[in-house]
Amino acid sequence: MTNPKGRFGIHGGQYIPETLMNAVIELEQAYDRYKNDPEFNRELTELLDEYAGRPSRLYYAEKMTKDLGGAKIYLKREDLNHTGSHKINNVLGQALLAKKMGKTRLIAETGAGQHGVATATAAALLGMECVVFMGEEDTIRQALNVYRMRLLGAEVIPVKSGTATLKDAVSEAMREWTKRIDDTHYCLGSVMGPHPFPTIVRDFQAVISRETKQQMLEKEGRLPDAVLACVGGGSNAMGSFYHFIEDKSVRLIGCEAAGRGIDTFETAATVNTGSVGIFHGMKSYFCQDEYGQIAPVYSISAGLDYPGVGPEHAYLHDIGRAEYVPVTDDEAVNAFEYLSRIEGIIPAIESAHAVAYAMKLAPKMDKDKIIVITVSGRGDKDCAAIARYRGEDIHE
């Protein structure tokens, strides 16, 4: 679906400083060389299976299904991966690729800290240096993940510029990459940024839908009716959707973080409230004002607190292939608690956005319909923040 210049319809492209152009061209050439290389794929599959614990389970949430009284609900358990989220799928792919390119240092941005932890983990495993940029605000919201990264040997740099969240961490990682390119690979964590990142990250995350499809056929003998995933930059959603794009009977639903609501300024629901713009290397939808100034977005979820969305999602929205729905903080927190109690699974607050929409959707669907929710990560990291949201003063 990508054309040679990295376009998805009008979206995508390479809007980056000249200083980085040869670096992204080199990355594209390396990726083209290794993506179909049997040895590279054998090594990557071995890491994913033996180290990260793939394939992840497709679990029938029977109690939740009965409780909601509608469509049959399956959970794609990316939370069970090593490091606790889907982020490891992409990171192992990119770290291995970087190593083949002769790079010795990985830099990354992180919001909730899940991508930073995954990158620090891969760097430790492959013997690479690692520096993670994280908004100062997020280092406070996700203090446990900061410690995990340091424990894994990474340097964590708190970013104070702008809103001190994910967007500023991306800007700072890009700035760092322009300073030091020779030995450094920018391990971007989502299906965003300049070409070839949206394609590379999508391909490495597509393992989610490849497995879901096969597991669903084994368990039910048919395809699901809807696939739900949360969308910030959109990597777990893109991975969850990818192998179903051609199966037109499967509804693809991306759940955006509406924060305090899409009719307020405190929202991060990019597709629902944004407009087309150019930022962070890509053309896509962004939350911005009439003069193109990027808006200070808000969500309870540090991982979805981003003013843009990956260009392939923007395209899937434009052509009407995927739907993007807003889910508020309140709805996500309710879903966080609901899934914990009904299935004994504590989801990441990011993933809880998808669970929340399923709670609205499933009761309206017939019992012979099937929904798959991607639980992109586990929620241990969020417990203290959710407790505070509920007025309990607990400390990690």
Binding site: K5, G13, Q14, Y15, I16, P17, E18, T19, L20, M21, N22, A23, S161, G162, K167, D168, S171, M174, R175, T178, K179, R180, I181, S275, V276, G277, I278, F279, H280, G281, K283, F286, Q288, E290, Y291, G292, Q293, I294
Partner: protein
Amino acid sequence: MSDMIAKAFENKKAFIPFITCGDPDLETTAKIVRAAVENGADLIELGIPFSDPTAEGPVIQGANIRALKGGVTTDKVFSLVKELRTDVTVPMVFMTYANVVFSYGAEKFISACKDIGINGLILPDLPYEEKDEFLPICKKYGVALISLIAPTSENRIAMIAKEAEGFIYLVSSLGVTGMRTEINTDLKSIVDVIRQNTFVPCAIGFGISTPEQAKAMADLSDGAIVGSAIIKIIEQYGKDAPRYVGEYVKKMKEAIN
């Protein structure tokens, strides 16, 4: 209109100051521009502030934030330039980010540039591969779309130089804007390749703050671009900055010629 830019380089080395519009306010910006011109600036690079300037170091990031907090918008910057053009005759170019142009409407933005007397456009996040986004419209209105060449451009230098217009902005070092104690890039060999491929003048920017550095860079090329060092003066003196920027420009201009 973009031929105007060539005048800045005629028979001399050009000194090009960068000024973020609206830092600390637009009235002071107008005074700073006039002070720079009176003291020998050959071309003025005017920054339209952007919320997330990914090619800038902390100094210019700070100027962008201060200007936006003060309520500066693209329309207000256009009014400023219109007013400046009542007496300022040196070429002026805008430096901003692709989204500022795109969101305003490329045709509306670039035609406004022509109307108010802006001669060129520098967009650090618009590389060669993406220049068709705005180039046809720039050509239509005679606004030069300035190309940047970086220390990492290597095999791309000739390709970029061949299609360059106005002047070439040669980025002195890796990284973002900001003052540097040393510039270690082999700029001479880059300039040689540029010269083999175009007659368009080439000015060096990023990291230049002292008269010695400006002279060294201008000796290698056709001029020197200075941003962060000027923004620092503005940050320090605020509304009193025009006089100090004027003195600084005079010193730098004398050093390069």
